[in-house]
Amino acid sequence: MQAVSTTAVRSAATQEAVWVRWLLLTGALLFLGFFLVLPLVSIFAEALRKGWALYWEALKEPDALSALQLTLTVTLISVPINLVFGVAAAWAIAKFDFKGKSLLITLIDLPFSVSPVVAGLIYVLIFGAQGWLGPWLQAHDIKIIFAVPGIVLATMFVTFPFIARELIPLMEAQGTEEEQAAMVLGASGWQTFWKITLPNIKWGLLYGVILCNARAMGEFGAVSVVSGHIRGMTNTTPLHVEILYNEYNFVASFACASILALLALVTLVAKTWVEWQTERQMAAERAAVYES
């Protein structure tokens, strides 16, 4: 019924007048044009304002390269860790019934509502020189704040809910029948997970990873608090963009920003592709149900 009613051609009685449609459409597109398209285009325009040569120069600069390298390293550490957590959390929450489930979901969502600056601050309070563990860390010569581990921690905090949040509703909707059947047929727990659950959730998982990855590469506020902005050492690309911008080195700043904007565009394309795949899969499943 659902499919029929949404795809059906709307009758004139449930359509707006033509001029209203045009007005709404123009209004929406103008708003998006001003607020989304123009800023996006301006990044590339500013980066290339003085020509390609200066653009490449800015990107090849050692500090820019090391910033990009740090950003990728931090992402490569924090996304897989949150991936394992997301699957574990979704398995516990979606496949089992227990008390306090909604409280647990709320707690997992917590980093979404906490300001990134506050997220950075809490790690400074624990690991910083004046923090709880500060004296002990100093005695053992371990640096967390103003060093890479702090950046990884802050990034893990802000990207913490992404994958779990994508998987929990998906796995809840899928239920446990297929896993139960596998268990009854003698599969072990891990076999069930690898052969039944994982193939079922692969698109949702990928979707979560894409979102988590985008945020991890772009995080600014939380990382800014814990990084110390040491060039070539603890400077991620978003922080490098800020430093260059504040030095009035606009071309270089926008050149680095354009790399991040390109990654954002790749993210959007990948996200749309995954959505399209999910739709296709759902349509195929629906067709299979009709045939049987």
């Binding site: 459409l25 008390k99 997992i108 906490v114 309070l125 991040l260 904007a261």
Partner: protein, 277 residues
Amino acid sequence: MRFKQPSVLPGFNLAFGYTIVYLSLLVLIPLSALVIKTTSLSLAEFWQVVSSERVVAAYQLTFGASLIAAVINLFAGLLVAWVLVRYSFPGKRIVDALVDLPFALPTAVAGIALTTLYAPNGLIGEQLAKLGIQVAFKPLGVVVALTFIGLPFVVRTVQPVLQDLEAELEEAAACLGANRWQTFCKIIFPAALPALLTGFTLAFARAIGEYGSVIFIAGNIPLESEIVPLLIIGKLEQYDYAGATAIATVMLLISFVLILAINLIQWWHARRHGMRK
């Protein structure tokens, strides 16, 4: 569903235990550090920090700008969601994908791009300056940045609701003699209201904590265009941990209140939805 169903599936203890340990280590214990640190301040000290002129001005700006931006997003988000669900036009898929740009684009990048556009010598700023409006380096700039950041929240919460709205309801309204405006007000709007409120609250919550996109365009003039997260960073740079903690605790409290509000809206929505069935 009240009963805890025994399950044949394995791995609950492992998955649940791992979730709790990781959640505690990464989120809960560090957040409690903030609260515990605050309790080391006396109430008078806490109040002195939080009620100082500069901090109060920052709270007012952060709240005011976030509220205005969320209201703009409420209307613009509904409009965009409506257009994306109801009308077909060339390039619709691209527009739909582009709505998520503020989620995907690093906030610092958004910040410098918006600043360049709205600065007095920028593409939009120049035109507005002729009208006597200055956006960048003024509170209005904060509103622009927060509107950018919050847009996808409303669109993405309202879109699925509009998509699932049954056409029969609108046809029935038309049969009973309602015009389109009446149908919108009495049928469509009430159905979309919980989603609109959820999106509004999400955008508002995000705006209050937002840092990266705002600091470039705000100009950060004390008492005029300085936001709360920037004050926290300022205190930290002066090694005033107690001051930073006090301001951050107030922000954390606000976050909790907003989470509660979102949960209440969703509970209300679920109840209404359940009753209709």
